[in-house]
Assembly symmetry: C2
Homo-oligomer: 166 residues x 2
């Protein structure tokens, strides 16, 4: 029953992601643009497109553009969501600078299980939507600790609060 859900490589996931991005942003995913995005040469892109087409993840005719199939869209979406989740966690909670967070997310997105993805998603929700039982203080303490390595005491908290308002 159903098509066997092949496991594709990190590299192929990157290509799918790039194609999805270009379709969304420019309406069309071309070899050159994919190459520019992923920092690889055109023949590499071409080889990748042939592989992805063989796996029924894209439609691709010679000298034509690449389009994701239903399955390709699904996989690309999965990768994208993993990326976004990891990126949010790194940047909003661990407060890692954007560049580093993006770079790390680009690698971690290929490495996390559905379980970890789900939990991470919920964790972010928990923090952002304020489901911490009305105790947002811990987040401030966390962020202060992450940056200074020091515990926020009462006096320091006041200072931190003031800084946040500036």
């Amino acid at each position: 029953m159903g098509v066997k859900a092949k496991r594709i490589s990190s590299n192929m996931e990157d290509y799918l992601e790039a194609i999805a991005f270009l379709k969304r942003e420019k309406g069309i995913a071309r070899v050159s643009d994919i190459g520019r995005l992923l920092q690889v040469k055109k023949p590499s892109v071409n080889a990748a497109l042939i592989t992805l087409a063989k796996d029924n993840l894209i439609l691709h005719e010679r000298y034509g553009s690449a389009d994701l199939t239903k399955e390709g869209q699904r996989l690309a979406g999965d990768v994208q969501r993993r990326h976004d989740t990891v990126f949010k966690f790194l940047s909003r909670i661990l407060e890692i600078d954007e560049k580093t967070a993006q770079a790390d997310a680009c690698k971690i997105e290929h490495a996390i299980s559905p379980m970890t993805f789900g939990r991470l998603t919920k964790f972010i929700q928990f923090v952002e939507v304020g489901l911490d039982g009305g105790n947002p203080q811990w987040l401030k303490s966390l962020k202060h600790y992450l940056k200074t390595g020091k515990k926020l005491n009462c006096r320091m908290r006041q200072v931190a609060l003031k800084k946040n308002k500036e």
Copy 2:
């Protein structure tokens, strides 16, 4: 100045990790054991040992055992620490089951930057050592939310507290 700090592949990191583990656990790192640990055949191990020896990360003589050099020890230690940190985060904070957490950590350990490693380490410290300004409640709320998707209200909190005491 100093030796150029080569960047080694995820695979080579795995081999270093395995060698360090075997040295620690059994006093000696042999080709067969490394293979068993990493689920690869002996010729693959052999090839890896040659590569690592060429990079001065291990000492290895024909038909002899493998020993980490100072640099090899340093790298193996780095990987190990990244693994432990990620594993702790996944298992203790996101409460992912051990098997999945180990599997994910084995991949993520190759993907995180020093910055992310540092922040994650501090985050775990923050949680474990109770540096959250004396508000451990948020953690309970988090764990409850991660598992049920629901916010802990006052009544639910009492229930959660009771369960924790069982």
